[in-house]
């Protein structure tokens, strides 16, 4: 246990320069396994979706009834022509999977953006002003929570028919509650900070204070919630499409692929397993990314 400090050695105490907030964030991001793994997989999926026209071996809508229900490559009857097999209409599964990624990502991001704008605006206003504004926003949140998303979505689709745009709109107008609650809480914590008072005393108008002083400090929480809401939107869309109330065929939505594969589950299990696994992997990677961002930007990791 001879842990003696050797004070004989020569270099004087270095001038320690502490890193800037941005540098600290990057440093921690590089070391966080969940962030790297989730981010990496997500990046691959995004690349696959963006480059689908170049990467997909076949046209996802091209039907080839002579080649129906071909198993994937790991079966004895599989061919490299269709590495993931074909579905009941002879369409190449790999190509459908790649184009399906686009649908999932577009819906996820678009719904997140719409709900993000709604929820953040309501939450920040409620958190900053308190009082009556807070009461009104709370009433709105409670009302929204009383409405089950799935039933509302089903009702809307039953009235006007299902499509990509309808799904995005319904989701965007419904899933903003978490944004509102989290942004409200974050803003409340910050509104009594002295730098907000100092900005007021310097003559800043209220909009300027909210946008320039408060928002940069709640961005971290915002990003974390945003990633979680993307996954929520993706899962709800998959469920809606599975029920036939979301994206309409022949669009290669992964949820729709699961629905179409339902009837063939016993004899061609890969048909349902592959899009199911795809949804799982996408959601998992976004969740890992979101958790990673939360850990990296958490205040404890800062000092």
């Amino acid at each position: 246990m001879n842990y003696m400090m050797n004070t004989e050695i020569s270099v004087p105490f270095r001038e320690i320069s502490f890193p800037t907030p941005r540098q600290m964030t990057f440093r921690q991001a590089r070391r966080h396994k969940g962030f790297l793994l989730g981010g990496g997989v997500l990046l691959l999926i995004i690349i696959m979706a963006l480059l689908a026209p170049l990467l997909a071996p076949h046209d996802p809508y091209h039907q080839d009834l002579s080649n129906r229900l071909t198993p994937p490559i790991w079966h004895e009857k599989g061919t490299w022509d269709h590495p993931l097999g074909t579905d009941n209409l002879g369409r190449d599964y790999l190509s459908r999977l790649m184009y399906g990624a686009r649908i999932s990502l577009i819906i996820g991001v678009a719904a997140m953006l719409i709900s993000g704008v709604i929820g953040t605006t309501l939450g920040v206003l409620a958190g900053f002003f308190g009082g009556r504004v807070d009461l009104v926003v709370n009433a709105l949140i409670t009302t929204r929570l009383a409405l089950p998303i799935m039933l509302v979505a089903l009702a809307v689709v039953a009235l006007v028919g299902g499509s990509l745009q309808i799904v995005v709109l319904v989701l965007g107008l419904m899933i903003w509650n978490r944004f509102a609650l989290v942004m409200r809480a974050s803003t409340q914590q910050l509104r009594s900070m002295d730098y907000v008072s100092a900005a007021k005393a310097a003559g800043c108008s209220t909009p300027r204070i909210i946008l320039a002083e408060v928002m940069p400090n709640i961005m971290n929480n915002l990003i974390v919630v945003a990633t979680l809401e993307i996954t929520r939107a993706i899962l709800i869309e998959a469920s809606l499409s599975f029920l036939g109330m979301g994206v309409q065929p022949p669009l290669p939505s992964w949820g729709l692929m699961v629905a179409e594969a339902k009837g063939f589950m016993l004899f061609s299990p890969w048909m349902i397993a592959i899009p199911g696994a795809a949804i799982f992997i996408l959601v998992l990677s976004i969740n890992l990314l979101g958790d990673g961002i939360r850990d990296i930007t958490a205040p404890e990791g800062r000092s």
């Binding site: 246990m1 842990y3 003696m4 400090m5 050797n6 004070t7 004989e8 050695i9 020569s10 270099v11 004087p12 105490f13 270095r14 320690i16 502490f18 440093r27």
Partner: protein, 335 residues
């Protein structure tokens, strides 16, 4: 007669992202029954960490080592955490800075006081309650019986601190460690709490380690003082000696910084110590105070500066001789 608590050569290292922080380097201190030792220094000097190390309450990633720690005749470095948990509270009581957060809001005062005793001694709940009432009255809380049923949030800061002191005394400990006990309190209440601590110490013949950054508190309360700077002890001595005849340039500098009503001239510049405290990461050559000292000379940047002993208990860590130090003090007071 050996001291109640004796710590020799204490080191505390804390690994940080920027390197290992040598927060405490070679610190000695000791305290006896009936005595008050004050560890005084500014933020980051290592005074709280030193005491937390002795109580084995440092955060897990901190590493500490001491040549010897003797408490009540027992060698402490051989003591395991389980035994330490028994000693903490029953033989070493700690009073914290924040009375608002040191008490658990979910339990009554009486509950927490009784727990403090029942955890360590095999007494009945009734006996514990009687002792709680006795001590609450000792710390000046009237209607102690009904107070036992109150919750912490129903008491003011000053009252909570009194309850904290009572809690510390439940097991009749020989040593009390008070870490900034009055910093969070109003100034009129601070005087009352300090007077209470002093009288209780006398009555129960306890040793007290008082950690603070407030030199006024130190002057009025402490018998012995150890001034800490950047992880090292730079001066020790009896309070009267140290305040009337400070030797180390840092101690002298600190005393010059304080406005004293009736002594410092209003509207004029206060003395100041230029620069800021260095961060003890990496190795260090020479005196730790070199970049801020008015009297720095060549050797200060290269020689190893140990504690110079003037008499028992009176030491200072500087290459200048005591006479030169005294001269410096007189000169700066004359200007």
């Amino acid at each position: 007669m050996s001291a109640l608590l004796e710590v020799k050569d204490l080191y505390v290292d804390i690994p940080l992202a920027a390197g290992v922080l040598h927060a405490v380097r070679g610190v000695d201190f000791s305290v006896d029954r009936g005595q008050t030792l004050s560890l005084v220094g500014e933020s980051g000097c290592g005074k709280s960490l030193s005491v937390l190390a002795v109580m084995n309450l440092l955060p897990k990633k901190a590493k500490w080592y001491a040549d010897t720690i003797t408490f009540d005749g027992q060698e402490m470095d051989k003591v395991r955490e389980r035994q330490m948990a028994n000693i903490r509270g029953s033989k070493m009581a700690m009073i914290f800075q924040e009375p608002m957060t040191a008490l658990n809001p979910c339990y009554t005062i009486g509950n927490q006081l009784e727990e403090a005793l029942l955890r360590h001694k095999p007494v009945s709940r009734n006996e514990a309650r009687d002792r709680a009432v006795f001590l609450l009255e000792k710390v000046g809380i009237t209607a102690a019986g009904s107070r036992l049923k109150q919750y912490p949030h129903q008491l003011s800061g000053g009252l909570r601190q009194r309850v904290m002191i009572a809690m510390g005394l439940m097991c009749d400990p020989p040593l009390i460690i008070a870490d900034e006990p009055t910093t969070a309190l109003d100034v009129t209440i601070q005087a009352q709490i300090l007077a209470l601590l002093a009288s209780l110490q006398k009555e129960f013949d306890m040793g007290m380690i008082l950690i603070t950054h407030d030199l006024g508190v130190v002057a009025r309360m402490a018998d012995y003082v150890a001034v800490m700077y950047c992880g090292q002890v730079v001066e020790t001595g009896r309070a009267t000696e140290l305040f009337e005849n400070p030797l180390h340039p840092y101690t002298q500098g600190l005393l010059r910084c304080i406005p004293v009503p009736g002594q410092t001239k209003p509207g004029e510049h206060l003395g100041s110590i230029p620069g800021i405290v260095p961060t003890p990461i990496g190795k260090q050559k020479g005196c730790v105070f070199q970049n801020r000292c008015t009297y720095v000379f060549n050797d200060c940047t290269s020689a190893k500066v140990d504690l110079t002993r003037i008499s028992a208990g009176r030491e200072y860590r500087c290459l200048l001789s005591p006479e030169v130090c005294r001269q410096n003090m007189n000169e700066s007071q004359a200007t």
